[in-house]
């Protein structure tokens, strides 16, 4: 557990940093703010596409790409904010927060879902052959 006595800056979806000299941080946060809900909507939409397994598989792969976009936009924001603090000579400590750890299981879940869809496809094809 840690306690901070100074100012704490959070990188979240749609966070805005208006200080001069901060490059790409706000843009990256906005990108993250677009990728996160898109991933959520896509995942839920893929559930209802159970009749079209080819499209469902494609949507799951797109979900993995969106996850990567979400992750990299957050990391980009963190990188540029870190560079900004270094350039102004402020000793700032940084660490990943809950949002980062919530993203990490997503690709595993997507891969397992993809495996499930492929298994269904195999069963259907086996029935068709009969």
């Amino acid at each position: 557990m840690s306690f901070s006595a100074g100012k704490v800056y959070f990188i979240t979806d749609f966070a805005s940093f208006s200080t001069q000299g901060i490059l790409y941080v706000t843009e990256s946060c906005y990108a993250g703010g677009i990728f996160s809900p898109l991933t959520a909507v896509l995942s839920v939409a893929a559930i209802f596409l159970f009749k079209n397994r080819a499209l469902q598989s494609k949507l799951i792969l797109l979900g993995i790409l969106l996850f990567l976009g979400d992750l990299f936009s957050g990391l980009t924001a963190a990188h540029f904010l870190n560079q900004y603090f270094q350039s102004i000579g402020t000793a700032a400590t940084h660490r990943p927060e809950t949002g980062f750890f919530m993203l990490l299981p997503e690709p595993v879940l997507f891969m397992m879902a993809l495996k499930g869809v492929k298994k269904d496809e195999k069963i259907v094809n086996a029935y068709k052959r009969l």
Binding site: T12, P37, L109
Partner: protein, 87 residues
């Protein structure tokens, strides 16, 4: 449709993606940070029981580790092993 395992995975992924919007991704702290660790010492006046609690945690952590390791080697004495876990 409901009984497919991939639906659960997709629902969980969607839930995590939506949930991640409401939590910070990364944090930067420009001030002094105080860490609570085993054997940490806080000498500022007015801080009550913090150092004592950290020292207590510093005793409990290695004790738990030792006890877990000891119990591995007591595989022949099942009853004593079960008794160790009760502590």
């Amino acid at each position: 449709m409901v009984a497919r395992i991939q639906n659960l995975y997709l629902f969980l992924a969607g839930l995590l993606a939506a949930g991640s919007m409401f939590f910070p991704f990364w944090s930067f702290s420009a001030g002094k940070i105080y860490f609570i660790t085993d054997f940490a010492s806080f000498s500022t006046p007015g801080i009550l029981y913090v150092t004592e609690s950290c020292y207590a945690a510093g005793i409990f952590s290695p004790l738990t580790a030792i006890l877990s390791l000891v119990s591995i080697f007591l595989f022949l004495e099942l009853q004593r092993r079960q008794g160790l876990f009760h502590y």
